[in-house]
Symmetry: C2
Subunit: 326 residues, 2 copies
């Protein structure tokens, strides 16, 4: 099946399960951006991020016999929760391999969603891949990759179908759609959906400073990698490089990337709190930060931007609130 | 017209203007409450609270000639913003009379929504009513009362129509609907809508300790007043007494009230942040607090509760975050 057929099929499987998240706006944000700003609030998705879409899509696409043996994921973050919840909904086992230095709360949450959490000794260099292969061999579980996987991209693309429909209902045409971008699963999924359903909407990947692998890759025309793997508050969208499957899609369909600073992400979180009454995580606020603070890199009288997730702990959110004008 | 006819007419006038707010849930909240918890997120309404519904309903119900002269409201809070935005949408003037010791940000926001803000000298006992009468006489503006006004109740009732429909879609029947309650406009509007559309759903007013006028009034069968007017963080739902119009409706249709503490409101705000990725103000979290921490006062395997608003400043939200388990 083509990508768009996979997306449409995923939308049918997700119907009645995924939240159809609202496209929101505020006159106060419009004023800052100098154009109308529409915000697709995927922080309101189950498990607090768009990752539930891809998780549910991939788990539901497995044939029942394979699915019954369970699924496996490597993740310390949003993908873990999305896959764990999807597996629990199908009443099949899930194993999430997490580093033993992950925050206890993320470990607890993933367990509470029904997953078996297996910790690997990251600080001492234990290989999570070797551990994963061992579990696959022993239990016959299926690995669900976080972004470079067709059914995961298809699930994230269902968000793009909703954006196309919601933009049409509002009469919003010929605008940029800013997407928080890590490995490119969300960005490529949305781009594929818009190509079919709203080709006058153009996706722009948004990335944090120092982790602008996609922006550089789009410039050079081939996959560029980041020099570092951590050290930025936008943890949800830090990945080594765009994927083998996602990059050709991004390269074909996306406009240029927009790179935001940590401080802009925090300011955007504060404005999202104040004006939309939503909780965004730092990486989840990257696209809104681009809309508000990089207005000169955008054209048109309106812009659509995603909030990709809201899984932020209280101390980090308190830090963002210090940027609030209250 | 009967109340329910007014509500249905208001729903037609609000269609395409008010946000149809989502009914949300989280397995983590279900576990705390010991039953399924569904949350009607009115903090996602325009201006950050349900008050936009009543403001838009009242302004849109005026005949065009009267409306053109403008509208007037007394409010330092959510009602001010609801009326100001509704007036701006009809391109008619609005005057909001606010105390001169109101927070500058609320004054600024109300102005930014298009209202003329007139300050009265509350600390020195200036009468806002006299000021209001003077403006009505001079400019022929119509006063929009915050709750004891049929068209305002009708607007708030449109939220009840949505709850009835959303509960039906989920197959949720015979449950309590917990509503954050001040003067009773929101509570009576929802109760009237449910009486017609989902009579097996019963409204329960939720109030802060020390400001439980409605709870006591429902017990005694006549209007009881609060001894104090301020001194509780749940500012949005502090009113002297239930209204002359609202109380008979509450008395006829509601179950007993539930009284929550300030600490429970803050804990609920933290859990709403963590599990629903929403911003609730203290008074707006009262019903969720009742669902989570007064489970033994509720029956049934599920409960619906409202978040009435999210207009909270950063320092108060930071205080709530200190209750978060992260």
């Amino acid at each position: 099946m083509s990508h768009i057929d996979l997306i449409r099929a995923a939308a049918e499987r997700l119907n009645g399960h995924a939240v159809r998240t609202p496209l929101m706006n505020s006159p106060f944000l419009d004023e800052i951006a100098g154009r109308r700003v529409y915000v697709k609030a995927e922080c309101l998705q189950h498990t607090g991020s768009f990752k539930y879409r891809g998780g549910r899509s991939a788990v539901s696409a497995l044939d029942p016999g394979t699915r019954a043996k369970g699924v496996l994921a490597f993740s310390s973050g949003n993908h873990a929760q999305g896959v764990a919840r999807a597996a629990a909904e199908f009443d099949v086992p899930s194993v999430i391999i997490m580093p033993n230095d992950a925050p206890q709360l993320k470990i607890d949450n993933t367990r509470a969603l029904g997953a078996e959490v297996i910790l690997y000794d990251r600080p001492n260099g234990e290989s999570r891949e070797a551990l994963g292969e061992q579990i696959q061999a022993e239990r016959g579980m299926t690995l669900i990759k976080p972004y470079d996987e067709d059914q995961v991209i298809a699930g994230q693309g269902t968000c793009g179908l909703e954006i196309a429909e919601q933009a049409r209902d509002l009469g919003v045409t010929e605008v940029d759609v800013l997407v928080c971008c890590g490995g490119g699963g969300f960005t490529s999924g949305i781009a594929l959906a818009l190509e079919a359903e709203a080709p006058d909407l153009r996706v722009r990947p948004c990335e944090p400073e120092g982790f602008d692998d996609v922006t550089r890759s789009l410039k050079s025309g081939h996959i560029e990698t980041n020099n570092q793997q951590s050290g930025n508050i936008c943890d949800a969208i830090l990945t080594p490089a765009p994927g083998e499957i996602t990059f050709p899609i991004l390269n074909r369909l996306c406009g240029s990337g927009i790179v935001i600073t940590e401080d802009e992400a925090l300011q955007a979180m504060a404005l999202i709190f104040q004006r939309l009454k939503l909780v965004a995580e730092p990486g989840g606020a990257a696209a809104v930060a681009a809309a508000l603070f990089h207005a000169n890199e955008i054209e048109g009288d309106a812009v659509i931007c995603t909030i990709s997730g809201g899984n932020v702990d209280a101390p980090m959110f308190a830090r963002a609130l210090e940027h609030a004008n209250t």
